[in-house]
């Protein structure tokens, strides 16, 4: 099956001061697939999301959706609190971003809220919402998008444990049923195991894709216990740890 999202030889660098963020990133993602992006702080995960969202120009390489350049995306930004117009209600914010009428936005949002099992009122202004509520609204906004590509940068960072569980399940179900692609930046290996089909590990180099289906929750817990056991000498690098936890897979 032809991939929905195709990334080839992507390279990004900051201009001032000049600094290479990542290079040679290539991967394909099929419709209905969730690809996690894992890596230590400063490894370029968020920059990769910004490049794919069209907010930063890559210095080389190409990213396409169904063979054409990426146009609109559904985005859950890392600084989600600042992404809402404070003078408008959440539903208006969702409508403005997606270029939809309030009625259509409401219908899409209610459907997404029900799948994610969230009870969030969208008629309130951002100022009266907690961080968790705003992050839920940011996720719903991305899911209301007509785009087949959803990019989420640490979308669970402000959610409580029960919301994380239902959102993980709900997002995965929407992506599968609607044939979308979700690229999700995560810090928690547990989240990666639960939601992702594969994980792109972004250490300085080389980049590798690790499949997750073979990894059970029990393996994960066992590895976590081993890592935390002071009697065992288990101090792996981030990529080694990710590979151990997610089950070692073929590198690209």
């Amino acid at each position: 099956m032809a991939p929905l999202l195709s990334v080839r030889g992507l390279q990004a660098e900051f201009a001032n001061p000049r600094k290479l963020v990542f290079q040679g990133v290539s991967f394909d993602v099929a419709a209905g697939e969730v690809l996690g992006i894992l890596g230590p702080n400063g490894s370029g995960k968020s920059t990769l999301i910004r490049v794919l969202a069209g907010l930063m120009k890559p210095s080389s390489g190409l990213a396409t959706v169904q063979g054409t350049n990426i146009g609109r995306v559904g985005l859950v930004p890392q600084n989600f609190q600042e992404s809402f117009f404070p003078s408008c209600s959440l539903i208006t914010n969702l409508a403005i971003a997606n270029g939809l009428t309030r009625k259509e936005t409401k219908s899409r949002a209610e459907k997404a809220l029900s799948t994610l099992r969230l009870s969030l009122s969208l008629d309130v202004r951002p100022g009266s919402c907690s961080g968790g509520m705003l992050q839920q609204a940011a996720i719903i906004r991305a899911l209301c998008s007509s785009s087949s590509l959803i990019l989420a940068d640490e979308p669970f960072s402000a959610l409580d444990a029960s919301a994380v569980l239902s959102v993980r399940y709900g997002i995965r179900s929407i992506v599968r049923n609607e044939g979308k692609v979700l690229l999700i930046v995560l810090h928690s290996l547990e989240d990666a195991v639960s939601i992702c089909d594969r994980v792109l590990v972004v250490p300085p180099a080389p980049y590798c894709i690790v499949p997750t289906p073979g990894c059970s929750q029990a393996d994960f817990i066992e590895n976590e216990r081993a890592r935390n056991d002071p009697e065992l000498e288990f101090v792996p690098s981030f990529s080694e740890l990710a590979k151990v936890v997610l089950m070692e897979g073929p590198s690209l």
């Binding site: 907010l55 985005l75 930004p77 117009f85 408008c88 208006t92 971003a97």
Partner: protein, 262 residues
């Protein structure tokens, strides 16, 4: 320090008590002659003068509403031109970095020049016509509008604009987002601009009477020369009231604008 929330009726009561206190002090200052009689007129004198100023059989000098309307008209024309010129210029300087750097020093220089100083020049340039008054008001107000809108543009939240770009929002949604971001600076600039327009209009009217002879500034100046202090106070109160009403009107526009966009 912990602050207890104050209920709205209590806030209104506090405002009212402020007015009552001011009124009481004013009354006492007039009754006990704390300052010279030619400086402080009593509230009752001012009230009588207000009735006289608006009465039908008032003499030409006291046709207060014509003086008031002339000043408000000058301030409004000057203010509208300043807002239009200021917004257009601020958009060019705010969006184009190059133009901003070129115009910034000149703008800061002009902002520091009191409009009343350049008023005589404009009087000569416009042959003492009413245009000289309007141009002086614009000279005083445009830098305020440009600076408030420019700082508003500089403070536009990049995350929100990036969000619209990532979601592929069309030009209409992007403009809507931009207007939502700029609305507070626009209203703030407009308010400051109108206060300045009114002040400049009155000040330059006191310097030189307009060709029509109507103007709050020259009325107040003549009244003071003739020791008609209560009339001067009526001028003060009228100017304050006009500023207050326009401010309320602009707040209403701001709320309606936000409501429409939301």
């Amino acid at each position: 320090m912990k602050t207890r929330p104050i209920s709205r009726p209590f806030i209104f009561l506090l405002w009212l008590s402020g007015f009552v206190l001011l009124f009481a002090l004013w009354n006492a200052a007039a009754a006990f002659h704390w300052v010279g009689k030619s400086v402080v007129a009593s509230p009752s004198e001012v009230w009588q003068q207000t009735i006289l100023a608006f009465s039908r059989d008032a003499t030409t000098d006291d046709k207060f509403h014509l003086h008031l309307l002339a000043t408000v008209k000058r301030a409004l024309i000057g203010w509208s031109l300043s807002v239009a010129v200021g917004v257009a210029f601020a958009l060019v300087t705010g969006i184009g970095q190059f133009v901003r750097f070129v115009s910034e020093p000149a703008l800061e220089l002009f902002r520091a020049i009191p409009p009343v100083l350049v008023f005589p020049l404009f009087l000569v340039a416009y042959n003492q016509g009413d245009q000289a008054y309007i141009v002086t008001i614009v000279f005083g107000c445009v830098p305020i509008m440009i600076l408030t809108i420019s700082s508003g543009i500089a403070r536009v939240n990049p995350t929100r604009m990036e969000m619209l770009a990532a979601f592929g929002a069309g030009p209409a949604a992007t403009i809507k987002g931009f207007v939502l971001e700029l609305a507070p600076s626009f209203v703030l600039g407009s308010r400051l601009c109108f206060s300045t327009a009114l002040i400049v209009a009155i000040v330059i009217e006191t310097v030189q009477s307009p060709p029509s002879g109507w103007g709050l500034g020259n009325l107040a100046r003549d009244a003071l020369t003739d020791f008609r202090t209560p009339l001067v106070y009526v001028c003060f109160l009228a100017a304050g009231l006009v500023g207050f009403i326009v401010n309320m009107f602009l707040s209403l526009i701001e709320n309606r604008l936000r409501g429409k966009l939301a």
